[in-house]
Amino acid sequence: MDRKSVLELFLKRRELVKQHIDSYNDFIENRLQNVITETGELMTDVDLAVRFGKIDVGKAEIIEADGSRRKITPSEARLRNMNYFSPIKLEMGLVKIHEDGTREEKDMEWVVIGQMPTMLRSTRCNLYGLSDEELVRNGEDPLDPGGYFIVNGSERMLVTIEDLAPNKIILEKNKGYTKIEEVAKVFSKRGGFRALTTVQRDREGMISVNFPSVPGDLPLIVVMKALGLETDKEIVDSISNDPEIVQKLLENIEENLDIQTTEDAMEVIGKKVAHGQTREYRLKRAEQVIDRYLLPHLGVEPEDRLRKAYYIGRMVERVFELAFNKRNVDDKDHYANKRLRLAGDLLDDLFRVSFYNLVRDIKYQLERQVARGKEPSIQTAVRRDVLTERIRHALATGNWVGGRTGVSQLLDRTTYMAVVSHLRRVISPLSRSQPHFEARDLHSTQFGKICPTETPEGPNCGLVKNLALSTELSTGADAGELDKVLAELKVTPIHKH
């Protein structure tokens, strides 16, 4: 086979940084809107609320000192040490809440809430769709791959971060003499929220569940009953029909005979999360915790509890299978268990927090307006610098939300190849000071995905990687679409008998 011509064809498309551009476009088109939708409505302490509608990002522009707006080319931004940012417009509408509780919704209006860094060659870039000649006329190298940002005139890129796959069960075994022997972990991710849920088996075969906001561990039976599986049969059915496992499950059930109903279980949880409060509040908190913090990727509504129970059942089954040597621990370095977080994902994290800050600021401004007896106005309540500054600062320094540093880096312009290599770099969040021998190894599953040769020598060896030449990344699919496909294939959802 003539591989050379295939490769030539591939390189002719010149889409070596397609992943970043695709990811950014997806972020602008879809995920930005999701963030707004998830935020819901802003409630103030005065009789006002704010509705959020559609969000839209315009083409890159600058606001000159005299206030005039104008399209800008990347080369101008570079030369004048300026930002290559696009305006973010959001549909907002005030809602007046009368004393009797009725809502008076004012008209939605478009408000510029700040600026978004524009990725070069993305749909919001002024170079998008230009021919080579036009690019040259705009002071741009037609061979430049794009995929980076311009902040204060310096070219900054977001390096791809390699992360353990979220929403996937990872089995681990504790070495040495520990109380807990086998653990099934899930980094459950919903929107920007990550919740680590673990199911663990101790030496006596007792299963416990651990998830955020509940201190300590909860016995499996408590969690299952809290999730609505009240009878022993229901619990066992949701886990396994392997007699060996069922035997162990029955032992677990016997340990918790004092908990019978869902309410009993909720009471146990309530005592942990809201100790010393009223019973009513305790139960409310327990339900809240179960819905919000236990496996949130399956949903955060009471209807989702059954699915959660079955999901935990699967985790329990795996833990037992591992204990009975019917299954092996999961290889954390297997590339199937890795996800690459691209520019869009990283901006998503950043925007979420920044937007939340903006919303808080709007609330404060509105309340102040009311307190001063002014007519509330959204246009004046939105201080666009709040959002822009936060994003700009993170991008300029590399200090991301969540205390991560070095997320954005100055694009390496040593040579053309240095640029492309840098844009295709993948870094692992593992600490470079610890050995982590296994994580640094070249794993078989990296074949065809990660370059086997290009990794730095020294402390970052094997932790900093580069995508193989012909690797392309997919942006991920919408879960709703998948549900539809499954439904068409006559897959029925879990329901109670």
């Binding site: 297997h334 190894d441 794993h443 078989s444 074949f447 086997p452 020598e457 402390p459 060896c461």
Partner: protein, 876 residues
């Protein structure tokens, strides 16, 4: 005036008592502000002029000296209420738990106290650590339910981190704590480990705080003219401010609650003043949000005072640049760029015999190379020659008693160093040779001890100041004194690479030279003695290489050993060895054998070893110099090169290699079959799977070795690459095998490659395939090239090596640090014992036999065979 040096006889550590603090204090500090509007410091403020001077031009109000001379003076702050010293919070807790709440006696009976006192006295006499005894006191005293002295009931005292004490639910205030500690009788304090003379327990609760001199916390003036204060000053301001408020409130009779709060706040400020990283205390921050760097932070860690400023000294008279090789230098020499020689100076005292010489140097000044940079008058005043308008004037004035700092010149002794300095040969004394250009030049023979190469390595040079130091360095640290390594008792300095090849080419059996050629060689080496006796064959006179070589051997040297090329035959034919691998030197004449790595290579040289040990280091140095020059001349005369075609194999060799690999793969599949059908016998102590793996690995590695042997057969000693590998000049047969025949099995952590997809390494294989190819056996050679799968497996194996080196360097550096810290003050005393700084014996005799490894024969104290050999051959 230099004060008379005195010997410190002892050091004693104790706590500062409030009285002592007041005594050393020059000013009581009461004002929280530092400077008034006019920029003058407040009296009684933190920048009180009595605390020393930091501004140039001002005089200290206390001692009258100026900046630089005034050491600074302490002040003090009187606390309105006592405060716990956070550094002693834990100890205070221990003490509180061991004493009675009403009478403050240690809750042990008088007899027990006596007993412990006895134990402490004994431990002190033995020079033992008291910790164990005192810990025991705390433990037993704590257990008492009732005070044995006054009968008072006792409660356990809980330590409420960071500085609270709770007794039976009640919080003890620092005042309560101090009261209790005050009441401890001196004799009881001793049992608790205190020396009441210098540290009373109650001094751990502060009533007075010493204020460090301004010299320890200088304020800096920014460009804008604004003053910026040191973090310590900021913290002291906080303390004074709160202290002030506290005393005002107390005087005004403010409610108890407010006073408690302020007291707590004062405690917080004093705590963070001492240590801003106490667990459970939020760090005090600067306005910008940066945590303040307070006392503990100044001392702690890598950037702290100890590791950075006290152990990590910086030096003058040092230079650093890139190194490059120069085979014409003596091994004792180092080539120094003129530019550096002009900058670095040696102090020479003027005396009647050198005054004219030094005058000339002074006259040439700092810019003309052999010149001088400074002169020092008899009264110690320094004159910089670069600032003198007329050098003749200075040159005229110098007289005995003056000191001239002249430029570095040929023959000066300097120390040369390459990091990491892992053994003593990493710093050696060289003689300077001033040369043009900008790199340090060194003889190739000293590369091994420094572990240096020339791919951009840099080295440091230190000019020794002072005659004693120069003399000491010359005796102990000269390169020639370091030829024998104290690690293994053989030479660590010796020929490398082309030296070995050259010597081999010269002393090979068929190497012959005409008289003219020999003349050239002798000229190149600088030999001026007689010619050896030529051999005559068919009427033509010629000299053998061995004859030429022998000229440079000591005339009474007798030695025999097996050369590196020795094939280790079962029966050694000695002198009649077909490969000429048996080296015999009789009466300074090389009778048989070739000269290769085993003769004078670094880490291996037998001949060199003999010469150092029998004829001294100076002779060895001369020998090494001439021998390397000789070898280099030889290699240049014969010419020597290697290239990729040195790995070319004829097609029948390739066929044989293929056959070997095929049959090995065949054998592996047989093993797998045997395993699957259950007839494979497990090795003792191994599971069946482990046995199979081991057998497969073994089969494949044998096969690789066999292919290497085949390749070696076809390549032969005529092949430059093979020659270098065999004589130990560079490379190994394994390298050649991998290049020419077969790369072999790739391994990760000692196992064949196994991680990856379920049941297989790569999706290109079937599940459960455990054949050679599927587990990372690379059957191709580097020359032939690898297929993608082999390439990937090779990258996997290679990655492990990269990670290993990266991780190891950092780990071994840390290990080295700990070893140095543990062993640095061990020393062999005159009674042959090895002792630490405190006189503790670590080893009765050094190494059990008292032997200096560098004087041993590769670690053996005597080598009987060598002595016998020497005697017998001498006679024969």
């Amino acid at each position: 005036m230099i004060a008379t040096p005195r010997k410190i006889s002892a050091l004693k550590f104790g706590l500062l008592s409030p009285d002592h603090i007041r005594k050393i204090s020059e000013a009581r500090i009461v004002t929280a502000d530092t400077y008034d509007e006019d920029g003058y410091p407040f009296d009684g403020g933190l920048m009180d002029p009595k605390l020393g001077v930091v501004d140039p031009g001002l005089k200290c109000k206390t001692c009258g000296s100026r900046v630089g001379d005034c050491p600074g003076h302490f002040g003090h702050i009187e606390f309105a209420r006592p405060v716990i010293h956070i550094g002693y919070a834990k100890l205070i807790h221990k003490v509180l738990r061991s004493i009675c709440r009403s009478c403050s006696r240690v809750t042990l009976s008088d007899e027990t106290i006596e007993m412990y006192k006895e134990r402490i006295k004994r431990a002190k006499k033995m020079g033992q650590n008291l910790d164990a005894v005192i810990e025991d006191v705390f433990r037993t005293a704590r257990a008492a339910k009732k005070c044995p002295h006054c009968g008072e009931e006792r409660f356990d005292i809980k330590f409420d981190k960071p500085s609270g004490y709770i007794e039976d639910g009640n919080r003890l205030s620092p005042t309560d704590v101090r009261e209790r500690l005050e009441k401890i009788p001196d004799s009881d304090a001793e049992v608790l480990g205190f020396d009441p003379e210098v540290s009373r327990p109650e001094w751990m609760v502060l009533t007075v705080l010493p204020v460090p001199p301004v010299t320890a916390r200088p304020s800096i003036t920014l460009e804008s003219g604004e003053r910026s204060e040191d973090d310590i000053t900021h913290k002291l301001v906080d303390i004074i401010r709160i202290n002030q408020r506290l005393s005002e409130n107390i005087e005004a009779g403010a409610p108890h609650l407010i006073i408690e709060d302020l007291w707590e706040l004062l405690q917080y400020h004093v705590t963070t003043y001492f240590n801003n990283e106490v667990a459970g205390v939020p760090p005090a921050r600067h306005r910008s949000g940066r945590p303040l760097k307070t006392l503990t932070q100044r001392l702690k860690g890598k950037e702290g005072r100890f590791r950075s400023n006290l152990s990590g000294k910086r030096v003058n008279f040092s230079a650093r640049t890139v190194i490059s090789p120069d085979p014409n230098l003596d091994i004792n020499e180092v080539g120094v760029p003129e530019e550096i020689a002009r900058e670095m100076t040696v102090a020479v005292k003027v005396n009647p015999r050198n005054i004219e010489y030094l005058r000339r140097l002074v006259l040439r000044g700092p810019d003309n190379y052999p010149g001088a940079n400074y002169v020092e008058r008899a009264d110690g005043r320094r004159i910089s020659l670069s600032r003198v308008p007329d050098l003749t004037e200075v040159a005229e004035k110098i007289e005995p008693g003056w000191v001239v700092h002249r430029h570095l010149r040929d023959g000066d002794v300097v120390l040369f160093n390459r990091q990491p300095s892992l053994h003593r040969m990493s710093i050696m004394a060289h003689e300077v040779k001033v040369l043009p250009y900008k790199t340090f030049r060194l003889n190739l023979c000293v590369c091994p001890p420094y572990n240096a190469d020339f791919d951009g390595d840099e080295m440091n040079l230190h000019v020794i100041q002072g005659e004693e130091a120069i003399a000491e360095a010359k005796v102990l640290m000269r390169v020639q004194e370091q030829i024998l390594s104290p690690r293994f008792g053989g030479p660590i300095i010796g020929g490398i690479h082309d030296h070995i090849t050259g010597a081999y080419l010269l002393t090979k059996k068929d190497a012959r030279f005409t008289k003219e050629e020999v003349s050239r060689i002798f000229y190149a080496v600088g030999y001026t003695g007689d010619f050896p006796k030529p051999t005559v064959e068919d009427g033509v006179e010629y000299y053998t290489g061995k004859q030429i070589f022998s000229v440079f051997l000591p005339k009474d040297l007798n030695l025999s050993y097996k050369a590196k090329i020795c094939k280790k035959c079962e029966e050694c034919e000695e002198e009649r060895c077909p490969d000429d691998a048996f080296v015999v030197i009789k009466g300074g004449e090389l009778v048989s054998g070739v000269i290769d790595e085993r003769a004078f290579g670094a880490f291996a040289g037998e001949l060199l070893d003999r010469i150092v040990k029998d004829y001294g280091t100076d002779e060895a140095r001369r020998f090494l110099n001439t021998l390397t020059r000789l070898a280099l001349f030889a290699i240049m005369k014969f010419g020597f090169s290697t290239g990729i075609d040195d790995e070319d194999l004829p097609s029948d060799a390739k066929e044989r290699i293929d056959e070997i690999l095929d049959s090995a793969e065949e054998k592996v599949s047989e093993l797998i079959e045997a395993y699957e059908s259950g007839i494979l016998e497990p090795l003792p102590g191994r599971t069946l799977e482990e046995t199979l793996e081991m057998r497969i690995m073994q089969t494949l590695s044998e096969a690789r070795d066999k292919t290497g042997a085949v390749a070696g057969e076809y390549l032969g000693m005529k092949n430059s690459a093979v020659m270098m590998a065999k004589i130990g000049a560079r490379g190994s047969m394994l390298n050649l095998t991998q290049m020419a025949a077969c790369v072999g099995q790739q391994a990760v952590r000692g196992e064949r490659i196994s991680r990856g997809y379920v049941g297989r390494t790569l999706p290109h294989f079937k599940r459960g395939d455990i054949g050679p190819k599927a587990k990372g056996f690379v059957r191709t050679s580097y020359k032939k090239g690898q297929d993608p799968l082999e390439y990937f497996f090779h990258a996997m194996g290679g990655r492990e090596g990269l990670v290993d080196t990266a991780v190891r360097t950092s780990q071994s550096g840390y290990m080295q640090r700990r070893l140095i810290n543990a062993l640095q003050d061990l020393k062999v005393e005159y009674d042959n014992t090895v002792r630490g700084a405190d006189g503790r014996i670590v080893d009765i005799r050094y190494g059990g036999d008292g032997a200096d490894p560098s004087r041993t024969d590769w670690g053996n104290i005597v080598n009987v065979k060598k002595i016998v050999d020497k005697v017998v051959r001498n006679r024969a």
